[in-house]
């Protein structure tokens, strides 16, 4: 393929495989990190907001229940 005779030739990079491929591996690492980190932190934040919303809803519900109960006992 291209400038190399075979795929194994390509992988061996003319004897520089360790250097070339470790450089490209670090490159891939940087790409993955820069996408994954913000995406995961967005998910985490959304989950937090969801929980906060649920807690708030439960609180409102509990308050309503209490009101109904006290109203019920009064009549």
């Amino acid at each position: 393929m291209g400038s190399f005779d075979s795929f194994s030739d390509f992988l061996s990079m003319g004897g520089y495989a360790a250097y070339v491929w470790s450089a490209y591996a670090f490159f891939v690492l940087v790409l993955v990190f820069n996408i994954l980190q913000p995406v995961l932190s967005r998910k985490k934040y959304l989950k937090q907001q969801l929980r906060r919303e649920q807690v708030q809803q439960e609180r409102v519900q509990a308050q309503q229940n209490r009101k109904e109960m006290t109203n019920g006992s009064a009549t």
Binding site: G14, Y19, Y24, F26, Y45
Partner: protein, 254 residues
């Protein structure tokens, strides 16, 4: 253009425009990086001195120049935040630090790995290497400084001052190879002639990777900035709607 910039300084506008832009940016970046990397790794001919090892250049050079560009961007945003109190500028500046740090680390790592067989050493206190290392420490310092503040505004101001002081280092990186006679080589000239040291078959794929990586850099900045907008503007009505829609999707999945 000024009006467009002015609109971008509104978090809502930034969020909307960047959201619309994102799919195009991702497509273009994937295309450019894909072509450039395959071309550079497998199809360009080997160097007559460095053999196949020079292929590291296709990521080393753009990573280093984008890291420097990222520092400039952080400093410009810092200035905009200090002078005009634009909140949006501080959010972008905050996004610049980790992205710039990883790009600088990439430039240093690929350079080291390249240096082992070519220079016979992975590190030397050469002017360019040292000033680049300082830039990485500046990015790390800006992140550490921000995390030391509880107040978002106070932290933003402190980071802005540090970013502006550190900007003096970037031209030093750029011109270090001309000002001092150090080990790192100067910029290679690009020539359209096929007999030149760097004929088009060598540098055209580099242009692809360069623009592709720049696109990736923009994506990385935008992703972080959008998160920051959702967090800082969570009390705004429009963010409530955005969060509501996102939460509805999450609920559906669960």
């Amino acid at each position: 253009m000024w009006q467009w910039l002015y609109k971008l300084s509104s978090p809502k506008w930034f969020y909307t425009i960047s959201g619309q832009l994102m799919p195009w940016l991702v497509a273009l970046t994937t295309f450019l990086l894909g072509i450039g990397l395959i071309w550079g790794l497998a199809f360009t001919p080997p160097d007559y001195q460095m053999g196949e090892n020079y292929r590291i250049a296709y990521i080393h050079v753009p990573a280093a120049s984008i890291a420097m560009g990222c520092y400039y961007m952080m400093a410009i945003m810092a200035a905009a935040f200090l002078i005009w109190r634009i909140k949006m500028a501080d959010m972008v500046a905050k996004a610049c630090a980790p992205v710039g740090m990883t790009f600088t680390a990439l430039a240093l790592f690929t350079g080291s790995v390249w240096g082992i067989p070519t220079w016979g050493t992975w590190w030397i206190w050469d002017a360019r290497l040292t000033s680049t290392l300082i830039m990485m420490f500046l990015f790390i310092g800006v992140m550490a400084l921000r995390s030391a503040y509880d107040s978002e505004t106070a932290g933003g101001k402190a980071c802005a001052v540090l970013s502006l002081v550190g900007v003096v280092n970037v031209p030093i990186i750029k011109y270090s190879v001309e000002w001092w006679n150090t080990l790192h080589q100067g910029a290679s000239s690009l020539s359209l002639s096929n007999t030149a040291a760097n004929p088009p078959e060598i540098w055209v794929p580099a242009i692809f990777v360069g623009f592709g990586l720049f696109g990736f850099y923009l994506i990385a900045i935008i992703l972080r900035t959008r998160n920051e907008i959702l967090i800082r503007e969570r009390k705004a009505d429009w963010v409530g709607e955005v969060l509501g829609a996102a939460l509805a999707i999450n609920k559906g999945k669960a």
